[in-house]
């Protein structure tokens, strides 16, 4: 009986214990389920916000290009709010949705707030000046499963991401833009090659103050027409650069050659925007208008004797003509003796002169040609034996210089406005043709850009100086350009606003009327143990073009503070390239998450 009573007394114990433990279990459940789910949602929200913010600025960048200007008319701007129905912020919302977040998604639990603007600083991101920013906040109110027991409002995990377009100085010395899909006829006589950024033939050297960017993702050992991003063929090359970055699997290969490339090239970069044409979206430097015509009979300009005062050649349109008849010949203008392009005043032309040449110019043996600060347009030339006409050809032992001389054999910064040499054809947008050219019936296709030369030239030139007030406002965005190759003179098609034409899905092809005109040539030389060709500024060729540095003798060098942007760089025979860093490098827009 006592046992029975005892058993009866114990009835309900488990229930009491369970009742006591239940709240503790519920709190644990609350923690595990609600907080755990909150963690998960918060991580997903961050991913969605990051993707959305980046998508918005990337689309804005695609719309204006790295060299463009972003405003609220070219990209969406709004205070924090819901997604617009179109534009780059709409694109952002699509990315957020693809990552599981949308306005009123998950049965109305989610909110997606998106803001964008062009103020100098993005909200809550001080000290980082930007051109355009997008801020995305993704939040979700979680269902109150158990957390309601300890919190009446429930959990609302949220994440914020801020992405921006910012002006970033070009840190590199060499930007080699050709991608794996960009093809042209090889200088190695092996037919079409695709993905070439660098080719060295002979014994060459490169020294750069900034880094090298190579946009081709082709590694070594590929079958033609694919070729490695860099090829050292026969001879050897020494490269000294703080860094060499290659996109994707890009690599350097040696063919019967030795290479000393320091620092070692590094590939694996996936962000294609780093390797995009930094000038894309800027458009092109406009030509001068309202110039006087200066027909050159028989295409001959005979300058003063060396040692005397130079012959002054005033601003204007220059073209060779038949003597007496004034009919345009289309042949190059040959300059001998000592001449200067100037109006004879000090400073010349009030600080900035304008010239347009049709047919290109050739300087004679031992000639001495001085270019005053200004804009020099080489608007087409007649092909010779199927080869492109040359824009500037410097004669044997000739001097081409501007008003800032070398100091102890070294180039120094210019304080004047500097020069820009634009190499193009007679169809360059904005160009006003002289009547004689217009009526000649001759075509003036693309000239070969750069400075070709005979033996032992001396060339000293400076690019546009943005700090000088004489530089016309329309040219300021292009400073410090010294050489500008027309974006129509390449195997890829650019639009009128300077963007690659992607309407074909990939960059559209451009058929050149004179094959090979897209090659720019700069001839290296030496003078008294120093570099004979000294350039200060930016050398620009569009993607799909290439630049050949040609050296005839050991020690032939192109030197100076430069930034070279081109499709591919070819070094031939005995050429050296000594690039110091520009004091005021150009900038370009880059897109990135900044917080």
């Amino acid at each position: 009986m006592r046992n029975l009573r005892s058993k009866r007394n114990q009835r309900g114990q488990a229930m009491v214990l369970f009742a006591l433990v239940l709240p503790v279990l519920l709190i644990i459940l609350t923690f595990v389920l609600d907080v755990g789910f909150s963690y998960f949602v918060s991580k997903r929200a961050q991913t969605a916000a990051d993707a959305a913010a980046l998508a918005a600025v990337n689309q804005a960048l695609q719309q204006v290009g790295p060299g463009g200007q972003v405003t609220c008319s070219t990209a969406d701007c709004q205070s924090a709010g819901v997604c617009p129905v179109s534009g780059n912020l709409h694109n952002a919302c699509q990315y957020a949705a693809a990552n599981g977040f949308s306005q009123l998604g998950q049965g109305g639990q989610q909110t997606l707030s998106i803001a964008a603007g062009t103020s100098q600083f993005a909200p809550s991101v001080p000290n980082i000046p930007v051109s355009y920013w997008t801020q995305v906040v993704a939040q979700q109110t979680l269902p109150q499963w158990f957390s309601g027991l300890i919190s009446p409002t429930g959990l609302k995990p949220a994440a914020r991401a801020t992405a921006a377009l910012r002006q970033s100085q070009l840190a590199g010395s060499l930007y080699l833009l050709n991608h794996a899909s960009d093809c042209f006829v090889s200088a190695l006589d092996i037919g079409l090659v695709c993905g070439e950024d660098f080719l060295a033939l002979g014994f060459n050297g490169i020294q750069t103050g900034g880094g090298i960017y190579m946009a081709s993702s082709n590694g070594s050992g590929l079958g033609l027409p694919a070729i490695a991003a860099g090829t050292i063929a026969v001879g050897g090359v020494t490269v000294q650069a703080p860094f060499t970055y290659l996109m994707g699997q890009g690599g350097i290969q040696n063919i019967l050659a030795g290479t000393n490339w320091n620092a070692a090239p590094k590939n694996g970069f996936t962000d294609a925007s780093l390797f995009a044409d930094p000038m894309a979206g800027k458009g092109q430097p406009p030509p001068p208008t309202g110039l006087q015509d200066h027909p050159v009979p028989a295409g001959l300009i005979t300058g003063a004797l060396l040692g005397g005062s130079p012959t002054v050649l005033p601003p204007g349109n220059y073209y060779s003509t038949l003597p007496l008849l004034n009919t345009a010949l289309g042949t190059p203008i040959t300059i001998t003796g000592n001449v200067t392009f100037s109006d004879g005043q000090n400073p010349p032309c009030g600080g900035f002169c304008n010239y347009v040449f049709y047919g290109g110019i050739v300087t004679g043996v031992l000639s001495h040609v001085t270019f005053s600060p200004g804009r020099y347009v080489f608007a087409g030339a007649q092909p010779i034996a199927g080869l492109p006409g040359i824009g500037v050809s410097v004669g044997v032992n000739s001097v081409v210089q501007d008003l800032t001389p070398l100091s102890n054999g070294q180039i120094t910064a210019n304080t004047d406005a500097g020069e820009i040499f634009i190499f193009t054809n007679a169809n360059f947008p904005g160009l006003v043709l002289p009547a004689a050219i217009r009526n000649s019936g001759l075509s003036f296709p693309q000239v070969q850009a750069g400075v070709s030369a005979g033996l032992n030239p001396s060339v000293t030139l400076h690019g546009l100086n943005a700090n000088n007030t004489s530089v016309p406002a329309e040219l300021l965005p292009f400073a410090p350009a010294l050489i500008w190759q027309d974006q129509a003179n390449t195997t890829l098609k650019y639009t009128s606003n300077g963007m690659l034409d992607l309407s074909c899905g990939t960059p559209c092809s451009n058929i050149l009327s004179v094959p090979g005109s897209q090659q720019m040539i700069i001839q290296a030389s030496q003078q008294g143990g120093h570099a004979g060709v000294n350039l200060f500024g930016m050398i620009y060729g569009p993607r799909g073009s290439w630049l050949t540095i040609l050296g005839l003798l050991p020690g032939d060098t192109v030197a100076g503070p430069m930034q070279i942007i081109t499709g591919a760089l070819q070094m031939a025979l005995d050429a050296s390239l000594d690039i110091q860093q520009l004091p005021n490098p150009p900038t370009r827009l880059v897109a990135a998450l900044v917080q």
């Binding site: 595990v32 990051d50 000290n127 980082i128 970055y245 694996g268 962000d271 990135a592 900044v594």
Partner: protein
């Protein structure tokens, strides 16, 4: 009498049953709890490591060029991981940071939090370069105490996050 006899016969039944079931039941409950806790710690670890990598990717060379206050150090990354990794034993997290300069093992989170070395290092912190933050975490389960000689045993979790430097 019958009741009395039955009661006597059943004496100790519950004790025996309890004795039989108690240990497996405890192990099952504890096992379930520990597995859940283990998964929890693993997810916390991955979230924390992802946060550390995200911090580093927006503190690259461009950020540093924009403002000197944007330096990314091993300590800053470790503290970001600590903040995001609530519940992780800092001494059990062994952190390794990998950039183009190679792997940098700074030890456990406590040690890393006092390491002011710049990371990613200059020259390997340019936008577009990949970086990785990885960690091993020694998860100590209470269950190991029940295994003779394995009282201090642990399971090593590995978490790794690779990002491209943005800025």
């Amino acid at each position: 009498m019958n009741i009395k006899i039955r009661s006597r016969r059943e004496r100790g039944n519950s004790a025996v049953e309890t004795g039989l079931i108690f240990l497996p039941l405890c192990l099952m409950i504890l096992g379930g709890f520990e597995i859940a806790r283990g998964m929890w710690m693993y997810h916390t670890l991955t979230t924390a490591i992802k946060s550390g990598a995200r911090f580093a990717m927006v503190h690259g060379a461009d950020c540093l060029a924009a403002t000197a206050t944007c330096t990314s150090t091993v300590a800053a990354i470790a503290k970001t991981i600590q903040t995001a990794g609530v519940g992780l034993e800092a001494g059990s997290v062994q952190l390794t940071l990998t950039s183009g300069a190679g792997a940098y093992a700074c030890g456990n989170l406590n040690g890393c939090a006092g390491d002011d070395t710049q990371w990613p290092p200059a020259g390997n912190n340019a936008a577009g370069l990949p970086i990785s933050v990885s960690a091993t975490y020694a998860f100590h389960s209470v269950l190991s105490s029940f295994w003779p000689g394995q009282g201090s045993a642990s399971i090593n979790y590995l978490a790794k996050s690779t990002e491209i430097i943005q800025f």
